[in-house]
């Protein structure tokens, strides 16, 4: 029943800092790097990565926002929540190294949709993936380049990422199989 904390505020801060370093290392600096946060919680994470990079490198990195609502393959099955918002990319992504940022990597279907959405805007030199939590159970051949923490989960479990900007506090929780009442079940994320 009870939710178990798997990442505390401090853990999240460290993970973001480490990923920022890894992005810099892997791309040998910031040349052509663009961060793109996926709505909803990828957006504040991308902003935090950008702030960390600014701190380490003294250089600003462009940050964009991606909404994948119009690219999902599970429209009829998904919850009725009809929110889609505009995608905002700060620059032409053609030839850039795009780092997609999301909170949880699960089936990989959201990332598949995000790749389609991004490619509609141009042809990046590369697309990399940064996630705060990888909870496993992939249904598509997709893997992350940067991971805050690998958290092995059971299918019925629910991973909740809470962030200051969207939820008022920083914490990652794993909840045991939810009662049938709130069963968004598989497919979500």
């Amino acid at each position: 029943m009870g939710a178990k904390t798997v990442l505390t505020r401090e853990d999240i801060r460290r993970a973001v800092g480490r990923i920022a370093h890894e992005i810099l290392e892997r791309n040998r600096g910031l040349d052509g790097v663009v961060l793109v946060g996926m709505r909803t919680r990828g957006v504040p994470l991308a902003a935090r990565l950008a702030a960390a990079i600014q701190e380490f490198e003294g250089q600003a990195v462009p940050v964009g926002t991606l909404d994948i609502g119009l690219y999902r393959d599970d429209i009829p099955a998904m919850e009725l929540r009809p929110q889609i918002k505009p995608t905002e990319l700060p620059t032409d992504i053609h030839g850039k190294r795009v780092v997609l940022v999301d909170d949880v990597l699960y089936t990989g279907r959201s990332i598949r949709a995000a790749l389609d959405a991004l490619i509609d805007f141009g042809r990046p030199a590369s697309i990399q993936l940064a996630v705060l939590v990888d909870r496993g159970h992939r249904e598509l051949p997709i893997r992350p380049d940067y991971v805050g923490k690998n958290i092995p989960t059971a299918l019925g479990e629910d991973v909740q990422v809470l962030l200051e900007e969207t939820d008022g506090l920083d914490e990652v929780l794993v909840e045991a199989a939810l009662s049938a009442a709130e069963g968004t079940g598989e497919g979500e994320r």
């Binding site: 690219y71 429209i75 009829p76 009725l80 929110q83 909740q160 939820d167």
Partner: protein
């Protein structure tokens, strides 16, 4: 709806969840404020899509949408077709002339046939008020009213609201003057429902003969007025005073039986939206018109082309708003 989020986002999302469950869009009279907001927010995302180099997303790929028009239309039909295509849907356009309707096929048989062919959504326009309601009762398809008689034109109302909000923000307390042939106007009716719901101050202005029964100032027939309360004004100069929006309607000569107006010239003299009258409105007030215009009759050419005019913008916004409606309907269908 406020943008507040609860700690876990749970309550907020539940609230949003319940906002869109409808299967048809027939008029705005049964729209909640939250539903209007859902359309506005989604249309904002669609505007972004339409601004892209390749304005196309795969959201409705594999769906078939039929437009069935029993009345002439340029912008509404084209707008729905573009909207459907921008969402990746397949579109079949059917005009009553040239279809089996001419061989005498009934409306009922026509729509059942379209459903059997595999259409999932139907956009229809019909000269008889209420026709889409009849259809909606007999099909599994989502039905969108693209205009029925004098009754309703909900997507026009939504795109007008979207246009007003993009300039004015919150419409609460805004003075919106709708001038012209109110009696025969489905656009006016849908706007009145939507705008009053959002708290705008709606003023309708027309000669008494062009006001719906029940709105006439002489208090004539006592039949209950099937519209929300609005301010009625027969003097345009007074009506326009302090207006945030002045919306001129087309004089629907084809729907008018003789005897409602002394002459077009007199109508233009008393009810044309021109520069002189517009000067009485708030500076920068928006000038709107659902089109097609009779320039020189209900609106002067100078005003129609002025910087204050949103007439072309309305057409562009129409595509985004219709994309939003199609998307929300497709998505609500479990």
């Amino acid at each position: 709806m406020s943008e507040e989020r609860s700690p876990a986002g749970a309550v907020a999302s539940l609230e949003v969840k319940s906002t869109w469950t409808r299967r048809h869009v027939l008029d705005l009279d049964d729209f909640s404020r939250a539903e209007i907001e859902a359309v506005m927010e989604t249309a904002g995302a669609m505007t972004e899509v339409l601004g892209r180099e390749v304005p196309r997303v795969p959201a409705l790929r594999g769906r078939t949408i039929v437009t069935l028009f029993y009345e002439a239309s340029t912008r509404t039909r084209a707008s729905f077709e573009l909207a459907a295509k921008a969402l990746g849907a397949d579109v079949i356009n059917i005009a009553a002339s040239g279809s089996s309707v001419q061989k005498g096929e009934s409306l009922y048989d026509t729509v059942r046939t379209l459903q059997a062919v595999g259409a999932q959504m139907l956009v229809m326009r019909h000269a008889s008020s209420g026709a889409p309601y009849l259809v909606a009762r007999h099909v599994e398809m989502n039905v969108i009213n693209g205009g029925d008689g004098w009754h309703a034109h909900p997507t026009q109302g939504l795109l007008d609201i979207y246009t007003m909000r993009s300039h004015l923000g919150d419409l609460r307390g805004r003075r919106v003057v709708i001038v012209g042939d109110i009696a025969h106007s489905r656009v006016a009716r849908s706007n009145i429902w939507g705008l009053t719901n959002l708290g705008a101050d709606v003023v309708v202005c027309a000669p008494p003969t062009l006001l719906p029964f029940g709105m006439r100032p002489d208090g004539a027939p006592a039949e209950p007025l099937a519209l929300p309360r609005v301010t009625v004004e027969t003097d345009l100069d007074r009506a326009v005073e302090g207006a945030d929006v002045v919306m001129a309607l087309r004089l629907q000569l084809e729907r008018m039986t003789a005897g409602l107006l002394p002459s077009l010239r007199e109508y233009a003299r008393l009810y044309q939206v021109n520069e002189e009258r517009l000067a009485r409105a708030r500076p920068g007030a928006l000038v709107m018109h659902p089109g097609p215009m009779n320039e020189g009759v209900e609106i002067s050419p100078a005003v129609a082309r002025s910087l204050q005019s949103t007439i072309e913008e309305q057409v562009t916004n129409g595509v985004a708003v219709r994309m939003a409606v199609l998307y929300l309907l497709a998505r609500g269908k479990a």
